[in-house]
Amino acid sequence: MERREDGRDWAYRVDPYGFERPDDFDYASYEAFFSRYLVVLTRRAIKWSKLLKGNNNIQKSIKVKRYIRKGIPNEHRALIWMIVSGAQTNMEQNPGYYHRLLEEEKNDKLVEAIKTDMNRTFPDNIKFRKTADPCLQHALYNVLVAYGHHNKAVGYCQGMNFIAGYLILITKNEEESFWLLDALIGRILPDYYSPAMLGLKTDQEVLGELVKMKVPAVAELMERHGVMWTLVVSRWFICLFIDILPVETVLRIWDCLFYEGSKIIFRVALTLIKQHQAFILEATNFPDICDKFKQITKGTFVTECHSFMQKIFTDPGSLSMATINKLRETCREKLLSQG
């Protein structure tokens, strides 16, 4: 597609978050989807403004959970994420903490690792370009450096750059991004990013067990061809679907992730796998399987974020936290015994 001249069309080449659309972006089917989604967005916006009327505070409740599953309007997203994740409370209880972290003496190794990834975080987003004003790389650098000093056991792990980047795009605020990152890494996700990455490895195995229970034919295929789950899903977990699924879909997933916790990741993964079971089962060898797992994260099924989010709560069937915790325990022990 040619780079179009007039401003209105130019706006279409970059999405509302600043990401350039790829050259092969299917504008026609996206517009067809978006004109329908706009109706949903409008309805939700009205509902949310009634809910928040007069007070910018909400309590966790069945109604709020339902509202969140149907999507938080972008203008309220940062606020609601802050509240339901507990980040708001932590920020209020620790005034000035973030800025003090930035004034601390820096760990050189940490700073070096973060710097290496500065130009490699969203080069396709115009707001992260060195030429952008303001350039979000500065905010990204600050948030990651502050976090590495705040949570020394984790420091910096690749993947966190993308997560912090999304938080900055949504909150447009360094300090809030820092506290949301802390909510995710410190509380919501179980030990994905620390040097041993045990929580990550555990959850990959847990997904394997869940697939065995819910989509056994796919589990059998993986087993037969010796494909380890880590190979096909590690980025799903580490990047929380950034760069895997479309931006709008990722944000809808994160809405629920902040409210309901890490089991949402399993719901999304299981939905992707179950929905494409027949397609995955066409694979006849190892590279084929890997390729299928890349393809199932593309196309209208995932672009249509509203129906996708409905499906993640129905398609995989029941998924209790008790089941996940039990599986986490057994998988973790198995990993530890393997050394």
Binding site: T121, P123, Q158, G159, F162, M197, M228, N285, F286, P287
Partner: protein
């Protein structure tokens, strides 16, 4: 991982080779394909071709006679993904790369002395904590390309640690090559070529300097690996032994001259 914007591969289109290269019918070719009891085995036999009698069809639709697994390793940011994309697609889009998280692979079929060799090239995250995830894949690698960045001293200093790691986890007979990448950035260079050569000599590893940006020696690095692996797996009775070190020495281009 490369961005969606990265140039597409030139596409398959390799003609199905009806006639086998003579070497492929030679004796002593282990048809050892099959499971090796390893959870990570990507269906490539340990030291030989994937095809016993006739060419196989890779998932991209290209025919090949032999298949090998190659891994790219080295510190974060030394240019592993860029090197792979340059080799695979012939492209280098400055500022279009994102940090690699986890592990991924791409295939490329190249012709070595008339034999179609498929390289399954594994790209890994360089950050230390990801190594516990990527270790598991070393074991099945036929070749390892170990990279450092000539503009980053720490990445060079870490090469010894990488070699220790490789000795611990890779097969003993793994084909290994040391690459000093980013030689296009002459003004930022902090590791001299002689330092790279010296270290490589010390460990008995072939060495070359590369640039994913200009393309210098990129094709050569992979071709040399492919030649070595091909000769190892299907040596003909009267064929002279292929000497990887000599081949690299003869073919390598200096960073001073124009791109290869």
């Amino acid at each position: 991982m490369s961005r969606k914007k990265a140039a597409r591969s030139k596409g398959g289109g390799a003609a199905p080779s009806a006639a086998l290269p003579p070497a492929a019918q030679g004796p002593g070719r282990a048809a050892a394909a099959g499971p090796r009891g390893s959870a990570t085995a990507p269906e490539l036999p340990r030291n030989g071709g994937a095809a016993a009698g006739r060419p196989s069809l890779s998932s991209s639709g290209e025919f090949y006679d032999l298949a090998f697994k190659v891994m790219l390793v080295g510190d974060s940011g030394v240019g592993k993904t860029c090197l792979l994309v340059r080799f695979k697609d012939g492209a280098f889009l400055a500022g279009s790369f994102i940090s690699t998280v986890g592990i991924d692979f791409r295939n490329k079929v190249l012709t070595v002395d008339g034999v179609k060799v498929k390289l399954q090239i594994w790209d890994t995250a360089g950050q230390e904590r990801f190594r516990s995830v990527t270790h598991a894949y070393y074991r099945d690698a036929h070749a390892l390309l170990l990279l450092y960045d000539v503009t980053n001293k720490a990445s060079f200093d870490n090469i010894q640690a990488w070699l220790t790691e490789i000795h611990e986890y890779a097969q003993q007979d793994v084909v290994l090559m040391l690459l000093g990448n980013k030689v296009d950035s002459a003004q930022d260079r902090v590791v001299k070529r002689e330092d790279g050569e010296k270290l490589a000599k010390e460990y008995g590893v072939p060495f070359m300097e590369t640039s994913a940006k200009s393309g210098l020696n990129v094709e050569l690095a992979f071709t040399a690996i492919a030649k070595e692996l091909k000769h190892r797996s299907m040596k003909l009775p009267n064929e002279p032994k292929f000497k990887l070190h000599d081949y690299v020495k003869k073919e390598v281009r200096g960073s001073g001259c124009c791109r290869s």
